[in-house]
């Protein structure tokens, strides 16, 4: 998508059809030619045959194109990597050399996704963080749960223009999802990183959904005390890295549990890392708490509670005796 052209992308490729990928594909497929690149061939076949159903906050049935074979993908103008952070490296490697004219967008949790993709192509990159959530009901059906926004910004190192980011945000908004373009995404990315590091880590270890207890710091051993301490450690790292946060992650936590409570008394959003734990899948902890630990070390900071959470989640993963070959070294 050359910067000079002001027309919106006509052909979009979503890489990965988990909850977030399915939400993007199901909505964007309403207004442009949408391709999904899947890992499994049978998944692609079902998407081609049945289309994609979105329920919950939207009610859509979307015809899309899908393949698990990169060579079958036509050139596209916008690519969105919607795989988990743990699967990004192989996904980006598969796209190497594809659609050199495209703009690529990363939407992974944590830090470092842009660097991973940049190793496999010279595409202009858009950074994104999303606060929407969905529950994948099947290969061809996703429930749109939280209809909160996705924030986009240019990744400075590839010189992506703010104009391009605005066009992509406009496209997402036109599809029925919510997006906001920002001149610099780093503050928002870090706000979410710090929020996620605390909430997902605590959820993965306690197996508690994100409930009011996360905001309760009344007693010394209250869960909210740990959440607050973890967030304070993250804020100290951000300060050392010279990042001004977009929002205070502690306020994000308070609002999230309060919003849930007005919505329904037994509001119980399952953070994605808890979903991974319950399904005994590898978690994104290396990219979230682990990313903060690495950043802290670069600035000579110690963040003992975040380190403890990172180590405990790694220990928990090890207790499942994971045999799938996806435990490659994380290089960021």
């Amino acid at each position: 998508m050359p910067d000079s052209a002001s027309r919106p992308p006509q052909r979009v490729c979503v890489i990965g059809a988990g909850s977030i990928g399915s939400l993007l594909a199901g909505h964007l497929g309403q207004i442009c030619e949408l391709w999904v690149l899947t890992r499994r061939a049978d998944h692609a076949r079902r998407l081609e045959d049945d289309g994609l159903r979105v329920s919950g906050k939207s009610d859509l049935r979307t015809r899309i194109r899908a393949t698990s074979d990169t060579t079958q993908l036509p050139p596209f103008e916008l690519g969105i990597f919607a795989v988990k952070a743990t699967d990004l490296e192989p996904a980006a490697a598969r796209l190497a050399g594809a659609s050199p004219e495209a703009t690529m967008m990363t939407i992974q949790n944590g830090l470092g996704a842009e660097e991973v993709v940049a190793r496999h192509g010279d595409w202009p990159l858009i950074s994104a963080v999303t606060f929407m959530s969905g529950n994948r009901q099947s290969d061809v059906h996703v429930e749109y749960e939280l209809d909160t926004a996705t924030w986009l910004g240019p990744w400075a190192r590839t010189g992506t223009s703010v104009e391009t980011v605005r066009e992509v945000a406009a496209l997402i908004n036109a599809s029925g999802l919510h997006a906001e373009a920002m001149p610099d995404l780093v503050p928002a990315q870090w706000s979410k990183l710090i929020f996620n590091s605390a909430i997902n880590g605590v959820a993965a270890l306690t197996e508690l959904p994100h409930i009011a207890m996360y905001g309760d710091e009344d007693s010394p051993a209250a869960l909210g005390w740990v959440v607050r301490k973890l967030i304070d450690e993250g804020k100290a790292v951000a300060a050392a890295a010279g990042v001004e946060l977009h929002e205070d992650p502690w306020e994000m936590n308070r609002l999230a549990v309060a919003r849930g409570e007005t919505h329904s008394s037994d509001y119980a959003h399952l953070p994605s890392m808890l979903e991974d734990v319950l399904a005994r899948r590898p978690t994104e902890v290396d990219f979230i708490a682990g990313a903060l630990v690495r950043e802290a070390a670069q600035h000579g900071l110690e963040i003992p509670l975040t380190s403890a959470v990172h180590r405990l989640v790694k220990g928990k993963e090890a207790s499942w005796e994971i045999t799938r070959p996806q435990l490659q070294e994380v290089k960021l």
Binding site: H310, G315, K316
Partner: protein
């Protein structure tokens, strides 16, 4: 001599059955679990595993049915210390009461109800096989000493240690038993919750660099509190951890067993004890505090729908 075991679970049963081997000792047991109490009264209390014996023990769920005793040995989970001693304190109006429970803080609760208290730490472990039968999983020493704020006489402590030893469980009387207690406390607080939070056996916790380092960080906080209290540890908890990794590789920490069975844990007496003694001494213990909160969160997760 009359001794009443207060809380006749696995550890309490080991003490009861061994003490009953000593001629001059009359052993009573108080517990709230009916079928175990009935089986003990019916056929005696049997120990299997690392010991093979049957003890004649009089047991009751009603403390009014038990005569005044010279000694009490409290062996409940620390969660039940208060209710157990409230129910039995009248038996010890003229006696001394020892705790052989996990963690710290139990003697303080006992001392609210009893005048002469003995601090205790025990290493033998077991599990109930069926009503009336306990398996002794591991042997080990027991240490007893006067609990300073409301101490039993040293002569009493020695007398109790001698009869337990005579029954077949080696027990040492010390003027200061805090070193033994805190060594075990720090060891347990650094390993038990890591097993519980990760699901790893003790050996695996020690094998993985990430969890082993966390164990050492937790030990360091516990040692700082012990140091501020002027307690000299019996041995280096880090060395105990590595030793246990060799001899108990497959061991699932009792707290992990509690978590898997969705039973409340002893976190308050372990890491919670380090946190509260640390607060008194103005020694920060943030890691232990975080561990308490995470384990409590885990306990709360069982109440969630679905």
């Amino acid at each position: 001599m009359k001794v009443c075991i207060v809380g006749c679970g696995a550890v309490g049963s080991l003490f009861a059955a061994h003490l009953a081997q000593v001629d001059k000792v009359e052993v009573w047991a108080y517990d709230v679990v009916h079928d175990h109490i009935e089986a003990i009264n019916h056929g005696g209390l049997r120990v299997t595993g690392n010991a093979d014996l049957v003890g004649r023990v009089r047991a009751s769920t009603d403390s009014q049915a038990i005569p005044p005793c010279d000694f009490g040995i409290v062996a409940t989970k620390s969660l039940f210390t208060r209710s157990a001693i409230e129910a039995t304190a009248h038996l010890f109006a003229d006696g001394a009461v020892a705790s052989v429970q996990n963690g710290v803080g139990n003697e303080e609760v006992i001392a609210e109800h009893v005048e002469r208290v003995i601090r205790g730490t025990t290493f033998p472990a077991g599990h109930l096989v069926e009503p009336g039968v306990v398996n002794m999983d591991t042997r080990g020493d027991t240490w007893l000493g006067p609990f300073e704020p409301k101490p039993a006489a040293m002569e009493e402590v020695t007398r109790l240690a001698e009869v337990i030893t005579a029954g077949g469980m080696n027990t040492k009387a010390l003027t200061d038993a805090r070193g033994a207690q805190w060594t075990k406390l720090i060891f347990n607080a650094a390993t038990n919750p890591i097993g519980a939070l990760t699901g790893l056996t003790h050996g695996r916790v020690c094998e993985l660099t990430s969890t082993r380092r966390l164990v050492s960080d937790l030990i360091a906080e516990g040692c700082a509190v012990a140091d501020a209290l002027g307690i000299i540890l019996d041995s280096d908890p880090d060395e105990l951890v590595d030793h246990a990794a060799k001899v108990a590789y497959e061991h699932r920490a009792s707290m992990l067993q509690d978590i898997l069975a969705q039973r409340p844990t002893e976190i308050d007496a372990l890491n919670g004890g380090i946190v509260s003694f640390g607060a008194d001494q103005e020694i920060p213990t943030p890691l232990n505090q975080a561990i308490v909160a995470l384990i409590k969160g885990m306990e709360h997760s069982w109440t969630q729908p679905g």
